[in-house]
């Protein structure tokens, strides 16, 4: 894997994790509203 490929991959990975964090945040808000 070249450096550029690794950077591209890591960026997409970071983007996916940010998406997961947003989903967690949304779910936590849902749960807090339900309480």
């Amino acid at each position: 894997m070249t450096r550029e490929q690794e950077v591209d991959f890591l960026r997409s990975q970071a983007e996916a994790i940010r998406g997961q964090l947003e989903q967690i945040d949304a779910r936590m808000k849902e749960l807090e509203t339900e309480e």
């Binding site: 894997m1 950077v7 970071a14 996916a16 994790i17 997961q20 964090l21 967690i24 807090e32």
Partner: protein, 197 residues
């Protein structure tokens, strides 16, 4: 084209380690000659980022195929991005797994077999529950139970589910914290690469 197999010991007669990122060893085999080399996995005790680091290590070894028990989304993406085929659900002796591959009995996967952080327990087989949630199982059997499960395999332990909203919130906080650490690790690596390390 050489094959990398996650292994419990540095031998052709070792068992396939069910974990990829945190397996103990890799045995890299030339299926034509059955010559092999064994690598110790330095990420076996990694707190975070083991799938990516191990995936990069294997991608840099010039192998074309990975045989393992389970492979999470981080490792799967790393290996796929490097053009490697990933075959999960493999068990038994390394030698037999290679023979099965040569005989065409093993087929490449098109998706990860388990959620992230699978296999974070100290020993193989510990903490392998994955829950059903979005590929964000926490390891140690704490799946979130929110549908869209990632895996196809049957896990040896059932994943405990959050039984109350409070419990789910606690699990989500832990998960968010772990993902945050993973994100920091990725950003640190991107910066390193940007500086030419």
């Amino acid at each position: 084209m050489r094959i990398a197999i996650s292994a419990t010991a540095p031998s052709m007669d070792a068992e396939v380690d069910p974990r990829f990122g945190r397996c103990q060893y890799f045995v890299i085999v030339d299926p034509q000659t059955m010559e092999f080399e064994a690598l110790e996995n330095s990420n076996v005790g990694a707190a975070a980022g083991a799938g990516i680091s191990t995936g990069q290590m294997i991608a840099n070894k010039g192998v074309g195929v990975v045989l393992t028990g389970n492979c999470g989304p981080n490792a799967y993406q790393t290996l796929s991005a490097a053009g490697l085929q990933v075959i999960t659900g493999v068990a038994g002796r390394i030698r037999d797994a290679v023979e099965a591959y040569k005989a065409g009995r093993l087929q490449p996967d098109t998706q990860p077999s388990v959620a992230a952080h699978f296999g974070m327990g100290a020993t193989p087989g510990m903490g392998t529950g994955m829950g059903g949630g979005m590929g964000r199982g926490m390891g140690m059997g704490r799946g979130m139970g929110r549908g869209m499960g990632m895996g196809r395999g049957v896990m040896p332990q059932a994943a405990p589910q959050a039984t109350s909203p409070e419990q789910e919130i606690e699990l989500l906080k832990s998960e968010a914290q772990m993902l945050g650490q993973q994100l920091s690790e990725i950003q640190r690596r991107i910066e390193e690469l940007g500086k030419g390390k």
